[in-house]
């Protein structure tokens, strides 16, 4: 299937862009990078540091899959394996997945998409990156000082009393990183409320903004709870007093409640911004508005609110009362509804569209398939009767990798490729991009699909040695992991090459709608030459054959084609 590019004239200079240095070229000093207040540069800092942490977390995962090819412990022994899965979980969850989309693409795009010059609090934005780095440093220090072996969930009393590893250091790292997350969320909320360009009403906001806004709400309201929980664990470890230790009258299950009160919403912090990316991609590559825009927007908020009341489904086997289990079960099913609506809406966005299958769209379509299966297997775990058997088995591992890796990482990659020309001004190699998308899709499914079967067979999580009849499926999974790893490494190579030597991409290579495409690529420091005035809905693609597009067809007009009402309002304000 050959894809024909849209009209090449679409890459001509835009009225909101400027000639002159971009945010990348304006200064090359170390100071201008490390002390920058520019949201775009901070996004790049985040991108680089998170990529490094992703590689670290991925290396742990590789070693684990290597160990699991045989039923005995022959590559690593129990102690090392326990530290591997703990550090893999901690690194990936707290230092990659939670900040992945919001801190990179979100930081870069939120101001650009709503027509602002920067986030509301640039200094706080920079501070949040430094907190992230300090937190990561603590956690890496814990790794080098002997590792942590509690699992990323830090269940007490093992973590607070029995473990001999560097729990306190890791916990402090997570505590600090929590603040970074809070500050990012705070910035997004205020920016979306107060910094929108004239005419950018709530229902003209791109869905990427809606979902980041919803995720920001969770960051602000959820993170402090895990922060204080981690403080309590650290206090218990350092002072030897039992807040969660049953030997001192504590309740270990209370810790689990406190932990999941944040950590379940946290998976929506990961996945909501990813939803936003998918919305943008489906619209841009189908050249149509997202089907049921308002429904998708409100579904984001609904998911954010519901996410706070479902944490108990992680505790079905702890002996909580049947009534509590049933309440959490029904609420968990409810979260599935807005999610299902979104998936259908994305799919039907393509209906009667003009679909081109470039790399970002391949990632998006891969996301749709994988996320659907991931979401549906979540229903297995929401049903109390089935979760009793599946809890703490590989079924759970497979399910959350389907939503976190198949969901978040694919969306992140799709978004990164889609906005790469905007971020760098250059284009990557389309062939290798497609290869990467295909490798990741198939490698991922081969890695994690066997784990569903393993889970139902009853293979528990966190075993370095397992019963021999599970070996066949584990080998499949490990084979898939090697394909997946190569799929991840490819973008590292061709994107780096593109950044240095890629062909100039032009300001709007996809012919996409949205304010971020109305300024030059890479954008100037202040984003827009003049403040845009928004007069039409987002995704308002002209209903013509894309090959006949004229350059003026793709603009959100900035002062030439005003809607009269807006003009009146501006006039009133001025008089």
């Amino acid at each position: 299937m050959t894809t024909i590019p849209v009209n090449p004239e679409l890459t001509s200079p835009l009225p909101l862009g400027r000639k002159g240095p971009s945010y990348l070229d304006i200064s090359f000093t170390v100071k201008s990078w490390l002390l920058t207040l520019d949201h775009k540069r901070i996004a790049i800092l985040y991108l680089l540091s998170m990529t490094a942490l992703f590689i670290v977390g991925g290396a742990f995962a590789t070693m684990m899959r290597l160990e699991l090819t045989t039923p005995q412990g022959d590559f690593v022994k129990a102690e090392a394996y326990n530290k591997l899965f703990t550090m893999h979980g901690v690194t990936m969850v707290f230092f990659f997945l939670i900040p992945s989309v919001p801190a990179t693409l979100g930081n870069f795009l939120v101001p650009l998409m709503i027509g602002a010059r920067d986030l509301a609090f640039p200094r706080i934005n920079l501070a949040s990156w430094y907190l992230f780095i300090i937190g990561a440093a603590f956690t890496l220090a814990a790794m080098f000082a002997g590792g942590v072996d509690t699992g990323w969930t830090f269940y007490t009393p093992y973590s607070s009393v029995y473990s001999n590893s560097q729990v306190a250091l890791a916990v402090v790292g997570i505590f600090i990183t929590g603040f970074s997350s809070v500050l990012t969320g705070l910035n997004f909320i205020v920016t979306v409320h107060k910094m929108r360009a004239p005419g950018m009403t709530w229902f003209r906001l791109p869905l990427f903004i809606w979902s980041n806004y919803a995720a920001a709400l969770i960051m602000v309201l959820g993170t402090p709870v895990i922060s204080i929980t981690m403080v309590l664990v650290a206090v218990e470890r350092l002072f030897g007093v039992g807040i969660f230790d049953p030997a001192n009258g504590g309740d270990p299950v209370l810790f689990q409640h406190m932990f999941w009160f944040y950590s379940h919403p946290a998976v929506y912090i990961m996945v909501l911004p990813a939803f936003g990316v998918i919305s943008e991609l489906m619209a841009a590559f189908s050249r149509k508005p997202v089907f049921g825009y308002k429904v998708v927007a409100f579904a984001s908020l609904a998911i954010a609110l519901l996410s706070f009341v479902v944490w108990g489904h992680h505790l079905f086997t702890t002996g909580q009362s049947v009534y509590a289990a049933l309440v959490f079960s029904v609420l968990s099913f409810l979260v599935g509804i807005p999610t299902a609506i979104k998936v259908f809406n994305w799919t039907f966005t393509m209906y009667k569209g003009s679909v081109s299958l470039e790399t970002p769209m391949l990632f998006a379509l891969g996301f749709l398939g994988i996320f659907t299966l991931g979401g549906l297997t979540g229903l297995f775990l929401a049903a109390v009767g089935l979760d009793i058997h599946l809890h703490d088995t590989y079924f759970v591992v497979a399910h959350f990798h389907y939503v976190m890796v198949g969901g978040v990482v694919l969306a992140f990659m799709g978004g990164l490729h889609y906005w790469w020309p905007k971020i760098t001004g250059r284009m990557y190699n389309e062939f290798w991009g497609k290869m990467s998308a295909i490798l990741i899709f198939f490698g991922f499914n081969l890695t994690f699909f066997p784990q569903f079967i393993l889970g139902y067979l009853g293979m528990p999580r966190r075993y370095y040695a397992y019963a021999s009849e599970f070996q066949v499926l584990n080998i499949l999974s490990s084979a898939g992991a090697s394909i997946l790893a190569s799929g991840y490494l490819l973008p590292g190579i061709y994107l780096a090459y593109s950044f240095v030597k890629g062909p100039k991409a032009g300001d709007n290579p996809w012919g996409a709608k949205g304010l971020e495409w109305q300024t030059s690529s890479p954008p100037p420091v202040e984003n827009f030459k003049k403040m845009p005035i928004v007069t039409e809905d987002c995704y308002n693609y002209p209903l013509v054959d894309p090959h006949d597009l004229q350059p003026e067809d793709r603009l959100i007009d900035s002062t030439t084609k005003d809607d009269d009402k807006l003009k009146e309002q501006v006039k009133d304000k001025l008089s």
């Binding site: 400027r18 002159g20 240095p21 200064s27 201008s32 002390l35 920058t36 207040l37 520019d38 010059r117 920067d118 509301a120 609090f121 640039p122 809070v182 705070l186 909320i189 205020v190 409320h193 107060k194 910094m195 929108r196 004239p198 009403t201 709530w202 602000v220 309201l221 959820g222 993170t223 402090p224 709870v225 922060s227 204080i228 929980t229 309590l232 206090v235 002072f239 030897g240 007093v241 039992g242 807040i243 001192n248 009258g249 504590g250 309740d251 209370l254 406190m258 100037p524 420091v525 202040e526 827009f528 030459k529 003049k530 403040m531 002062t559 807006l566 309002q569 501006v570 304000k573 001025l574």
Partner: protein, 256 residues
Amino acid sequence: MTEITANPAAHTAHEEEHESHVHTFFDKDQYPAMHFEDAGQQKESAALGMWAFLATEVLLFAGLFVVYAIYRNAYHEGFMLASHELDVKLGTINTFILLFSSLCVVFAVHSARTNNSKGIVFWLIATMVFGMAFFIVKGFEWNHDYHIGLVPWMKWDPAFLANVKMGDEVHDLNFQARMFMILYFVMTGTHAVHMIVGMIILAVLAYKAKKGAYNSKRYTSLENGGLYWHFVDIVWVFLVPTLYLIDLYNRTGGGH
């Protein structure tokens, strides 16, 4: 709900081209800052940001209050016995100290509104004096707790359980009272950390006020600092009944 922020200055922003500059952390503040259209927008953003931040702080303490509530429900007896040992007098004194300090902050903000720079500095220093007084009283109280053996990880000597009937009961109550004291120190400790942060903020504000940074047109950061201080006070107002005043009528000892 379309919100349009436009004024003559904004209008020129639409028409004229912005200059590109490198912005770094130690740049001098402009007012309004480069990325805001006007002072009004900056003020509203700062206020909203502060309230959102206070929401996270509320959740932080809410976590502690939830842990407390659950154990209070499970360990009713031991909590009451341990609470009897706390010094209500000192707690009450501290409550009033903090309420007065909040009043001082209000006066400081009021001074800003009436362009009274000296007044701002005076009232902020008054607030800090009250804050120090709070710490001194708290220090005495913790010291007293230590001497009568109420610090679970340093000196735990639950003499007050002596008149409870012997056997398993004492063993259990001992755990329960310990849990109360642990939560007491964690909660008041977290509050004290917030107080210290608040004092630093007040000191910075006082320094800036002395240099004349605040006037009737521009006192957002002063107001936000004040909001934070009020929040810390309100947390204390919730802590006092939670820790000191449970079962006030049956107190035997305590309050010496």
